[in-house]
């Protein structure tokens, strides 16, 4: 019986649930340093491929671009969002690989989730 | 605890078991590694548990060193982590079980038996613990010579 008062107090309280996928999208709050889907800026990338070597899950592959130069290819389906690639990226002041705040990355085809 | 306690334990062990204490290491404070020969392994543990009251067995590790398989028992007591290591030949990996002295070793010994194929003499029940029932006999995944085979797809089963 210890919780009776608490129970009835909740009867008129606002629910805690956020009706996320359909409504109340504005109530989804992300902190500053959130680790979401990574973004890759190929214009400033110096193609050092440090990220390929350091990725713990092997989600970053080597690939040749149209000019036959090596460049990284990011497979989001294997990514574990640790941010190591962002950390090792030597490009300054803005890094070529940055984890964004995007979190809706569900897809039906795992091969489509690739960042080039 | 001061390091003198660790050193005194080492001296104690050396005095009791003489040449059978093969190697002692003190890499940092509160860590002690003692290698003993298989003949006195049981006695050393009996000495630790019964006389020194080091009753807490943290875990046991099995390690493949090429020709030998090492069994490490990590005890905690007297304010330090005491690791007793004993090596057994790979051809005949057998060693006495310490379950009668430390009842908590039951699952650790079963795990090592399962993954490295060390037989513990006197263990009450060395049934499989972690590997599946249809795992082939005589294959021990944590040995260095074990090659990982890619699993077959389900439809071929």
């Amino acid at each position: 019986m210890a919780m009776l008062r608490e129970l009835y107090r909740h009867l008129f309280k606002k629910r805690e649930t956020v009706l996320y996928p359909f409504k109340e999208l504005d109530q989804v709050h992300l902190p500053e340093g959130y680790r979401g889907k990574l973004t890759y800026n190929k214009d400033i990338c110096i193609r050092c491929l440090l990220c390929v070597r350091s990725c713990p899950s092997g989600a970053i592959k080597e690939e040749l671009d149209d000019k036959g130069r090596k460049k990284p290819l990011f497979r989001i389906d294997q990514c574990i969002f640790c941010g190591t690639c962002e950390e090792v990226c030597p490009v300054r002041p803005v890094k070529a690989v940055v984890l964004s705040k995007e979190y809706e990355i569900v897809t039906l085809d795992r091969n489509s989730e690739v960042v080039k | 605890m001061s390091s003198s306690q660790e050193e005194s334990l080492v001296e104690n062990l050396k005095a009791l078991f003489k040449d059978n204490v093969l190697e002692t290491k003190l890499p940092m404070s509160r860590r002690l590694f003692v290698a003993v020969s298989p003949d006195v392994y049981e006695d050393v543990i009996k000495f630790l548990v019964k006389e020194k009251q080091v009753t807490h067995l943290s875990t046991m590790t099995g390690m493949d060193l090429g020709e030998k398989i090492e069994v490490l028992s990590h005890f905690f007591g007297l304010g330090m982590e005491i690791t007793i290591r004993v090596a057994v030949p790979k051809e005949k990996p057998e060693i006495k079980s310490i379950v009668s002295i430390v009842p908590g070793a039951v699952f650790y010994e079963r795990e090592i038996h399962d993954l490295l194929g060390v037989t513990f003499i006197g263990h009450p029940d060395l049934a499989r613990l972690v590997l599946s029932e249809d795992w082939p006999e005589g294959e021990y995944p944590l040995r260095r010579d074990y090659k990982v085979q890619p699993p077959k797809p389900l439809r071929e089963v």
């Binding site: 210890a2 919780m3 608490e6 | 943290s58 390690m63 908590g104 499989r128 972690v130 995944p141 389900l154």
Partner: protein, 397 residues
């Protein structure tokens, strides 16, 4: 006497993770039990040998989703021991804060889940709601809710800034107030007491003999805590009490965990106030010298021990992980077996099994099947699966 066998697991509503218990029962009384684990065998020990130390951190954080911080702390500490380096003091404080936040959320999770095991869903819902506050804080600090990816060999990867501190302190106040309320509930709710007092008894002697760890040991009245006995990180200067209760039953385990929540909150507050201004990370070599190290950490579920053998490579030669639940298993078997003056009923099984806070995910490891599903897809029609299942179960019986 022929006994009636009740198989519980690998799939059973009481067990959130797959393991198998065979209970021999006589009416409502349990006479014997056999345990079988290994359904979550992911081969992490073997896979560790394949990864560099830096990559191993992320694998270690995936040993267990709930006590991830304990595993990563243990891993990086182990590598630091082997390399013989000491991280900056501020990093050690941040580690303590993260470990305690982790413990806080784990204990809240357990008290909720423990309530659920004895059919008290309301407690479950409230605690998991309040646990979100702690998870929000963890997300604020690390950027992730569950696998924090925060530790690095030689320090931590992110700093705790001053505006974070204010937010953490505010959240701690709320959590403390809620924890007080839950303590009151646990202390006064008759139906919780009816289901937990005198259930799953483990005498102090048995607990020592069977090498039990963590809250189970402390609920049997034995003062044993790695944080106090073998201090790591910044625990050597953080004041805290080792909570013990001597009821030796599930109720004492409830109380130990509730009280540890207050201790965690106090530790976090102390650390926030006393963090020195240091760098958070040092540069380091990637090769560990030949040698070995043992690292112990007090995970939310008890003593966690990692053993590392290095051969002067960038990868470990052997990495051994012993999760707390494996240490508790022998005690669990003892608790589940009826003997003189002590009976276990079927209705008590969830309370006892739940009472140890089982985490079989951490417990099972070893065979390596990495790189298997990459680029390959398995397809299997319903009929094929059905046939496979039929064949398999006819064979087993």
């Amino acid at each position: 006497m022929s006994s009636f066998i009740i198989p519980i697991g690998p799939q059973h509503p009481a067990l959130k993770e797959p393991e198998h218990f065979t209970f021999f029962v006589d009416g409502e009384y349990v006479t014997d039990v056999k345990v079988r684990i290994g359904y979550m065998h992911r081969g992490i020990e073997k896979a560790m040998e394949d990864r560099t130390y830096n990559q191993g951190i992320y694998l270690a954080s995936r040993i267990c989703g709930i006590c991830t911080e304990a595993h990563t702390t243990c891993f990086v500490q182990n590598v630091e021991y082997a390399m013989d380096l000491k991280p900056p003091r501020r990093a050690e404080f941040i580690r303590v804060i993260l470990c305690e936040l982790n413990r806080l959320q784990s204990h809240m999770l357990w008290i909720g889940a423990g309530g659920h095991e004895i059919g008290f869903d309301t407690l479950f819902m409230y605690l998991w709601r309040d646990r979100e506050r702690v998870l929000d804080i963890l997300e604020l600090i690390t950027g992730n809710r569950i696998t924090y990816a925060m530790m690095a060999v030689g320090g931590v990867r992110r700093d705790i800034t001053s505006d974070m501190i204010a937010k953490i302190q505010k959240a701690m106040d709320i959590v403390e107030e809620r924890a007080k309320y839950y303590k009151k509930v646990v202390l006064s709710e008759q139906s919780i007491m009816a289901r937990t007092i005198g259930i799953g008894t483990l005498t102090p002697r048995e607990a020592l003999e069977l090498c039990s760890v963590g809250p189970i040991l402390r609920a049997s009245g034995i003062k044993s805590d790695v944080r106090a006995d073998d201090p790591y990180a910044a625990y050597d200067e953080t004041p805290f009490n080792v909570i013990t209760y001597d009821g030796c039953d599930v109720y004492s385990r409830f109380l130990v965990r509730v009280d540890e929540m207050f201790e965690s909150i106090n530790i976090i507050r102390y650390c926030l106030d006393h963090m020195p201004q240091d760098p958070i990370r040092i540069k380091l070599v990637k090769v560990a010298p030949e040698g070995e190290a043992v690292s112990r950490v007090e995970a939310p579920r008890g003593e966690l021990i990692h053993y590392l053998m290095g051969k002067g490579d960038v990868k470990p030669y052997r990495y051994k992980i012993r999760a707390p639940t494996l240490g508790i298993l022998p005690s669990l078997v003892r608790m589940l077996t009826s003997r003189e003056n002590y009976v276990v009923k079927i209705g008590d099984i969830p309370a006892i099994v739940g009472g140890i806070d089982p985490c079989f995910c951490c417990t099972d490891r070893a065979v390596k099947f990495i790189d298997v599903s990459k680029g390959k897809t398995w397809s299997c029609s319903y009929d094929e699966l059905n046939k496979y299942a039929n064949r398999r179960y006819r064979k087993v019986g």
